[in-house]
């Protein structure tokens, strides 16, 4: 299970560290024998993710602080992919980022669900957003939570209505 925080700067990323460090932080095992983390396998893993998500940066060694908001968000998302989570909780993943990055994130989420990859169980994405159109565009199923109605009551459930907004 992987969680993408809505609070990118305080919770999501270690801004001072490199792109590669941020992407691999939650799963450093396997990047070298025993307790070691070797730069080469780490850079290779990061380079793959940079390409897959179309992250604009000078390289895996660049500090995340220097990237644009959209690219920072993609680094955070890349960490979930590196972690290889089956269930992704994305909390406001498109807040405060540019339109191009938004589109890329939509496409990525779609691809992750549609094609989990060779020999691996299907993935599920729980996508939280306060922007309704993107939910309509992306979701198989939408649940609306509101504290104004009965405490966090589910007031709408639209099943199997995936389609364009």
């Amino acid at each position: 299970m992987g969680f993408l925080s809505e609070d990118r700067k305080d919770e999501g990323l270690a801004l001072g560290l490199s792109v590669a460090d941020n992407m691999t932080l939650s799963r450093l095992a396997g990047l070298g024998p025993g307790p070691l983390v070797l730069p080469r396998p780490q850079a290779r893993a990061a380079a793959g993710l940079i390409q897959r998500l179309g992250i604009r940066c000078r390289g895996a060694a660049q500090a995340v602080r220097e990237l644009s908001g959209g690219n920072q968000q993609k680094v955070a998302l890349a960490r979930l992919l590196h972690h290889d989570a089956d269930l992704l909780l994305l909390d406001e993943p498109t807040r405060g980022i540019d339109v191009a990055s938004k589109t890329q994130i939509y496409a990525l989420v779609d691809a992750l669900v549609a094609d989990p990859g060779e020999g691996r169980p299907a993935r599920a994405v729980l996508f939280v957003s306060s922007y309704f159109p993107e939910l309509l565009g992306l979701s198989d199923r939408i649940a609306v939570m509101s504290s104004e109605l009965d405490e966090h009551r589910l007031i709408l459930e639209a099943a199997g209505t995936k389609g364009a907004a």
Partner: protein
């Protein structure tokens, strides 16, 4: 971009070259004789050894103000054990272990009580100093002469291979600590905690465990610095190394460490430590009084941090 990257990586080293050149000019070419360079190395060993551990602590956004006290405790432990006819190796090991226990307590207090390390280690500074004085009954402890006393003796006296043994120990530990910081999960976790503790926690880093471990390791290295301090003094002295933690912290900061965490390298730290010794020795060999030396050192610390900030802002823009 290349020039700036070079400046960013080699900044402290560049500073060292400049300051060395300055004193080389002031003192004359004898400043760079092998004997004088060895003197600089020997003078750096104690602060350098303690600064290795401090690099790890500061990388994780911690701080340790009890370094001087732990060093004095360590000298007392060595001296007491030697007096009770323990072997030198055992005495040194016990001193390192005693220091590590101090660090363990610090780490447990920081994580258990959730009190900031500045306050915890301020308390430990007094606590450990008191313990050292109590253990030594407020006196210097004379100890029989053993090979421990030769750790930092000049090679010219016929001990050590090329360099005093203590310098080899320092270099070996430096390589080890640098490797741990750069190439192990523990090291990457320390930097992540220092950069953003909440993120590290959410990424599954066991922050508490890492914190306890880093203070224990740092204190053990400080204990080793204490053994070297004993080698230099040849007595156990509970009043030695008062305020030494500030030199140690300064070495890390000059070397590119940041008190807000997430940064710092062992190479930079050693350069920082050597830089301060060069100022010390350069001033004294030039015949400049102690107050000049202190002003220069203070200026270098402020300049190092100021240049670093300026560079980072330039990079962010």
């Amino acid at each position: 971009m290349k020039a700036r990257e070079l400046l960013s990586r080699g900044g402290p080293f560049l500073g060292l070259v400049l300051v060395s050149a300055l004193f080389g000019g002031l003192v004359g070419p004898q400043f760079f004789t092998p004997g004088n360079l060895e003197l600089i190395a020997r003078q750096t060993a104690i602060v350098g050894m303690a600064a290795l551990g401090m690099t790890l602590v500061i990388a994780s956004a911690g701080i340790d103000l009890s370094v001087g006290s732990v060093i004095s405790l360590s000298t007392v432990v060595v001296a007491l054990l030697l007096r009770h006819a323990a072997s030198p190796a055992l005495a040194a090991l016990a001193a390192v272990a005693a220091a590590a226990v101090c660090g363990l307590v610090t780490g447990l207090l920081v994580t258990g009580l959730r009190v900031v390390p500045f306050i915890v280690t301020l308390g430990m500074m007094l606590l450990v100093r008191g313990a050292a004085k109590g253990l030594a009954e407020e006196r210097r402890i004379e100890a029989p002469v053993t090979w421990l006393n030769d750790l930092l003796r000049t090679h010219a006296a016929g001990v050590g291979v090329l360099l005093p043994t203590g310098i080899w120990v320092l270099l070996a530990m430096a390589l080890l600590v640098a490797g741990v910081l750069r190439y192990t999960r523990f090291g990457r976790h320390l930097l992540a905690i220092g950069s953003n503790e909440r993120t590290a926690r959410l990424c599954g880093v066991r922050v508490g465990r890492c914190t306890v471990a880093v203070y224990a390791i740092e204190a053990a290295l400080t204990g080793l610095a204490g053994v070297m301090q004993f080698a230099k003094l040849s007595v156990g002295d509970p009043t030695v190394a008062v305020g030494l933690e500030l030199d140690v912290i300064a070495a890390v900061i000059i070397g590119g460490g940041s008190l807000t965490g997430g940064r710092g390298t062992v190479f930079g730290t050693l350069v920082g430590a050597v830089l301060m010794t060069v100022i010390q020795i350069g001033c004294s060999q030039r015949g400049l009084p102690n107050w000049v030396q202190q002003i220069v050192t203070g200026g270098v610390i402020v300049a190092a941090v100021a240049i670093d900030h300026w560079r980072q802002r330039a990079q962010a823009a």
